[in-house]
């Protein structure tokens, strides 16, 4: 019995004669914080879309949360969480309305929705803004709320696509504490970021370049292997 929550073998996606993802292979363990790094246009978003069941691969194999990306895309969607910087919450709905909406989409019972709503609002200290529109909140608050909502159905894995872009430095760190907490509860966190200090917070990272995974390992291993002083230095060495 393996403890891997994601297993990917030779996963490939071609658009016409352009190969966006070129036969990548890796696995991610339960509860791991996995940093999926790479340059713009390296194929990260395409790979994530395939893993979330939103895009059919051209070739290869992948299982996410025990389900096959080719034949069980709908089950995958029910068993994962997802948030991005660009779109996470509805700005014209209030804090409470957003929580209830997503809890409903993920088929929580009425009882669960009620208790989860109170639990989240208390945990995030958002009592005073519970009936405020999302658009009136600072970005840092929104992102913390969006993350908590993305795991409201207690998924096995959550995908985070640049969740902290533009967030202030204190809120960015509070956000990472939420990530650690989720990870310690057994939720796998699959995250992309352009902040190289955040790459250090991951248990393992992979670095993608032109559709391939060029390097993978713990931050310490990779820095040692490439004689890099920091993750930023490592990234420049691999991608440049």
């Amino acid at each position: 019995m393996t403890d891997n929550i994601i297993t990917v073998k030779g996963l490939t996606k071609r658009f016409g004669n352009f190969t966006a993802v070129n036969g990548i292979s890796f696995s991610v363990r339960r509860g791991e914080v996995f940093g999926f790094l790479g340059a713009n246009g390296a194929g990260k978003t395409t790979a994530i879309k395939m893993l979330c069941g939103l895009l059919k691969p051209t070739d290869g194999e992948a299982k996410v949360a025990g389900f096959d990306v080719f034949s069980q895309a709908e089950q995958i969607k029910l068993n994962i969480g997802y948030m991005s910087q660009k779109f996470s919450l509805y700005s014209d709905l209030t804090v409470v309305e957003n929580i209830k909406l997503y809890a409903g989409i993920y088929k929580l019972s009425k009882q669960e929705i009620k208790s989860q709503t109170e639990h989240l609002i208390n945990k995030l200290g958002m009592q005073s803004v519970r009936n405020k529109f999302i658009k009136s909140l600072p970005l840092g608050w929104k992102q913390k709320l969006a993350f908590s909502i993305a795991i409201i159905h207690n998924p096995k894995i959550v995908f985070l696509d640049e969740p902290t872009s533009g967030v202030d430095p204190i809120a960015r760190r509070q956000f990472w504490e939420l990530i650690y907490e989720a990870s310690s509860q057994g939720i796998t966190v699959f995250v992309t970021t352009h902040y190289m200090d955040e790459a250090e917070y991951c248990h393992r990272v992979s670095i993608m370049h032109q559709g391939n995974i060029e390097a993978m390992g713990t931050p310490q291993e990779l820095k040692a292997a490439y004689q890099a002083t920091s993750m930023n230095d490592l990234f420049l060495k691999i991608v440049r």
């Binding site: 790479g38 340059a39 713009n40 246009g41 390296a42 910087q85 600072p138 970005l139 840092g140 640049e162 872009s165 533009g166 967030v167 202030d168 430095p169 204190i170 809120a171 760190r173 990472w176 504490e177 650690y180 907490e181 990870s183 310690s184 352009h194 902040y195 190289m196 200090d197 250090e200 917070y201 931050p219 310490q220 920091s230 993750m231 930023n232 990234f235 420049l236 991608v239 440049r240």
Partner: protein
């Protein structure tokens, strides 16, 4: 020599104060950075300097030009690269560049030397439509279009947001080249590490300037002694440091966690040993003093607001 001067600039949107009584001077040919998160007021400030938005009150001059009154004089001498890609996606690289040159009654040939170091990086794709370019190439094209009329002032709103570390490094190299041509550059960014690449920076948060100076002086103004702790399990380390009775701030920083203390003893070494002793019962780690960086300073200033 002062190139841009702002005095008591206030801008509100409904009951939100976007800029809360800002005053500052920017020197000629300076590479000046506005560092701050989303919502700090960076874009609003730029739009006011560029005459795209009127302040509720306050005075702004660029060179000899009164920004509120002499809009058309101003617009001839400024180049602006907004935060979202604003070129014509249906036009090719070359057509976009030609269009922007002609709007300013100039031509690509006339100022080619200025854009050459950047344009040569995308020139071989010049027949390709702007909409089909990668993020990095779009950014280079946008920079060329903002420069093609040889402005005296170049304003770049978050040019590196969402851009990978390699393209960011290249972009800053290009900015340094442009600065050498005598152009004053204002640039905003949420990446604190980019502050050190500017001549001077303003750290901004919620419509206010927390500090304004050279990156060196801002760092030297940090009052606390900063300790870094290194361990393999960072989450556990954060919890342990937060429950340390003498801890004042605890912030993760890459592979270390930075901590400042409530009560510092006269002898710095003593604080280290005490912390080491406390941690030795919990987990294996290294403890040492470290120089603060801009992000440490930013968080300290945010905390003291």
């Amino acid at each position: 020599m002062v190139d841009i001067s702002l005095q008591n600039v206030i801008k509100t949107f409904g009951n939100v104060t976007a800029l809360n009584n800002l005053s500052l001077d920017i020197h000629k040919n300076e590479l000046f950075g506005f560092i701050g998160p989303d919502g700090a007021g960076k874009t609003t400030l730029f739009r006011i300097i560029l005459s795209l938005l009127l302040p509720d009150s306050g005075e702004i001059t660029v060179g000899e030009i009164d920004v509120k009154k002499e809009i058309f004089k101003l617009r001839k001498i400024i180049g602006y690269m907004p935060g979202n890609f604003s070129l014509y996606e249906d036009l090719s690289i070359e057509e976009n560049l030609d269009f922007f040159a002609r709007v300013f009654a100039s031509s690509i040939e006339e100022n080619y030397d200025l854009i050459k170091p950047i344009y040569t990086q995308i020139e071989k794709f010049k027949k390709r439509k702007a909409g089909d370019l990668s993020g990095g190439m779009k950014q280079k094209l946008a920079l060329c279009c903002a420069l093609i009329h040889r402005p005296k002032l170049l304003v770049l709103d978050e040019p590196t947001t969402g851009v990978d570390a390699v393209s960011r490094a290249e972009f800053w190299e290009n900015l340094k080249k442009i600065q050498k041509q005598g152009i004053t550059i204002l640039v905003s960014t949420p990446y604190m590490d980019e502050a050190s690449l500017c001549d001077r920076v303003a750290l901004m948060e919620a419509g206010e300037i927390l500090s304004i100076n050279t990156p060196k002086v801002i760092v030297s103004d940090f009052q606390e002694r900063l300790i870094a702790v290194k361990a393999t399990n960072i989450y556990q380390l954060i919890q342990n440091l937060k429950s340390y009775k003498n801890s004042r701030t605890v912030f993760p920083f890459g592979e270390t966690v930075h901590i400042t203390l409530q009560n510092e003893s006269a002898e710095a070494k003593k604080d280290l040993i005490e912390l080491e002793n406390y941690l030795s019962t919990k987990q294996k780690c290294q403890v040492f003093y470290i120089e603060p960086n801009i992000e440490d300073c930013f968080m300290e200033l945010m905390k003291n607001r």
